[in-house]
Every structure is written in C-alpha cells, then in structure tokens.
Symmetry: C2
Subunit: 200 residues, 2 copies
DNA sequence: TCCGGCACATGACAGAAGTCATGGTCGCCG
DNA sequence: CGGCGACCATGACTTCTGTCATGTGCCGGA
C-alpha cells in the first residue's frame, strides 16, 4: 500500500481525489489537509510516502509546502497537482524539490500512475507542460509587470504614478510598451493576455 | 441506481467526482462531458436522472446548459457544482431551472446526498449560499451588462458601438452608468466588480 | 575604453474615455 | 387620458490614455 496525504483547499475536490485513489486499491489516504500548514503538520506526523498538493492554498502555497516537506520530512516525495499550466510554476516547483507536476486538465487515470511512479523514485511531469515550459518567456520588465498589474485592477495612471513615485507620463509609457509587447490594443487587453500567460 | 451525467472541464476533477459517486454504490455515471455542448448531447442521448455540471466551461456555460436541458431533456434534473459563491450565479441558476446549487468548497459527503435529494424531487441549495442569495440584486440593465462585458475584454467604445450598431456616445453613456451604479472609478474596475458579484 | 543595447524615466500631443444635459419610447397605474 | 418611471439613445465637453521623441545610467562585449 502506498500511503498518501492530499492537500487541496476545495473540500469537494479533496474528497473526490481521495475517492479516486482509494478506488484503485493500492493507495491508503492517511491524511487530508485544507491548507498548506495543516498539510505540513500531517506530513511530519504520518510520514506518508507521497504528498499530493495543490499550489494555490491558504496560509502556505504548494510550492512553499514542497520546500518545507523536503527539509522536515525528507522521506516524503511531493507531487504538485494544479490548474495552471504556467511555465514559471513548473520551474519553481522543481526548484522546491517536487518530484511530480500534474495538471487538473489531464485525464484522471494519469493520477494513480503518477503517484506510483513517483513512489518508486521516478519523476512525473505532465507532458502538456514539459513542452510549454520551453516556450515563449515573459517579455515584460519588472516595472512593466508591476504597472500592468495595478492597471489591470482598475487603477488610473495617476494612482499608479503616486503609489510608485513616478511621473504619470512614465507610467503611461510602461503601459504603452507592455501593450505593444503583448500585441494588445489597450491596457485592459494587455492585462488579460498577461494574466492568461501567467506573467502577472 | 441513479443515472448521472457529469460536466466539468478539468478532466482530473471530472474523473475524481465520478469516482466519488461510484464508490457510494447507488450511482451509475453514464456520461462524462468536458464542455457544455457535449453535456447537452449526452443528456439527450442517455436521458440521465441527474446532470451534475460546473458553471465555467468552454462552448456553453453551465447556466446555459441548465436552461437547454430543461427544454430539451425535461426528465433530467440539474445540479450546479461550482467554485463561486456568487449570489448572481445562484439566482440565474434557479431561473434557468436548476434544482441544486453546490459549492466545491463544501464537504464531499454532501454531494451524494444532494444528488439523491434532487433525484427524489427535492432541492439542494448550499447553505453557505442560501443566505447570500437575498442580498443586493443585479443593478445593471441588459444593455449595460452587454456593453460592460465587451469593455471588460478590452474592446474600445468604438468597437462596441460598431458591434451593437450604436453611437459611440451611447456606449460611453452605458459604461458611465454602470461605473456609477457599481461605485467604480472606471470601466476596468466596474468590470472586475461585476464579475466578482456574478453579474456578467 | 568606447560603443551598443537595455531598462528606466519624462513631457508633448492626438485620440479615447467618462460625465452631463437632453430627448425619445414604452408600459403601468391612477 | 396624462403623468410617471425605467430604459434606450445621442452629442458636447472635460479628463484620462496611448504614442512618440528624447534623455539618462548601467552593463557586457569588441
């Protein structure tokens, strides 16, 4: 039996994933956590073979959790399971010591196999992502990203200029460059595109 | 046996939900759909007792799907299962003829009971949401909503005016009214607020 | 060392966005 | 019928946005 802890903030999905593994017969779900801190505690108490975790959770993200588990419960191997096919996330997950990275978009059958593979010492990277990881990199500079994020929340150029202690013209210029780099027609579209690519 | 079709765009979650129901013993998952159109086709072919559907899906939203199923497969009862505790969604779901509305945040045990309840002719509204449903109603008119949605995607007033065969001034006026009704400072913030409330 | 490339920064100007006053149409109620 | 309120529609006016020309400082390669 492979002993598994699952961390996922949507209770319904958490329960469903547990059912999905238990129906296979060779998994024992020894812990369920609704946030990162609870997951870390559970991992230290139960020393599971595998931790399956979402990224976006309250209190501690799955990426922080992966790093903490690697330090404090080194026998446990970590699989990240998330909605987001963002190249940046995969890189940070591997840096944090994760042994697997799956997308919620990929078929359910893949989950059990990935857990088995990682338990045996292998790696399980979602193929959809492995390709995308080497695709177009974020073209935005730090300032452009910062300004675009604020503009996407509805702040005016003047608001942003005040917050960042810049002139209004400068802010508009960053936005203009971001708009041009992303092939957008205005700040709204630019923010939407950047968000979709995971660059904000 | 209660015959169920599930519609959910994240394949992993779809599979997990199916496992969750099948493990109970009294459900038969007769169809799985990754988008709204596929779900509608499946419902017309298999005439399930209950359709369990997400809201945000490609091609056809869960709300549109609920309305279509009510018309074209009236024997099938519909439960909406979604992440979003937005009052506007619940209201529109009930208007569309849904018999249940569950949140992915609520415990997994509740799902099976809700499906059984709805199958017996009852209603299953998530208690977290039932209270919130009677809060502030959508203040936007049809035109305002339509224009705000397009503006929120990054279209300019001129684009929108052309699409809807209006003068540019009219479009700007609708946006101005929406901005004022929502207490926003500009179209971007207005679109964000409306989206969060489930009014778009 | 000198130059080119890059990120950062600014202001002037044309064009888009937001506000306001105004008027039209429809349905509803006294 | 007449008045009222809600929604739809428009143009004039002010404010905000997006673009462009310009300039600075910093780093790495020839």
């Amino acid at each position: 039996m492979i002993r598994v802890v699952i961390a996922e903030d949507q209770a319904m999905v958490l329960g469903a994933l547990a059912a999905l593994l238990e129906i296979e017969g060779d998994f024992d779900v020894v812990g369920r956590a609704a946030d990162g801190e609870m997951a870390l505690t559970l991992c230290m108490e139960t020393k599971p073979d595998v931790l399956l975790t979402d990224i976006e959770m309250p209190k501690m993200t799955g990426l922080e959790l992966a790093a903490a588990v690697r330090k404090q419960a080194p026998g446990t191997r970590v699989i990240i399971l998330t909605t987001f096919a963002r190249a940046g996330y995969l890189r940070r997950a591997l840096d944090a010591g994760a042994n697997g990275y799956l997308l919620k978009d990929s078929p359910a059958e893949r989950l059990a196999n990935a857990v088995r593979l990682v338990h045996q010492g292998g790696r399980a990277i979602d193929p959809e992502l492995a390709a995308e990881a080497w695709s177009e990199p974020d073209p935005l500079t730090d300032r452009e990203r910062q300004v675009l994020r604020m503009a996407g929340d509805g702040q005016t150029s003047a608001d942003i200029a005040t917050s960042l202690r810049l002139s209004e013209g400068t802010v508009r210029n960053y936005l203009s460059e971001a708009i041009s780099k992303l092939g957008a027609a205005n700040r709204i579209e630019a923010a939407r595109i950047a968000r979709e690519k995971g660059w904000l």
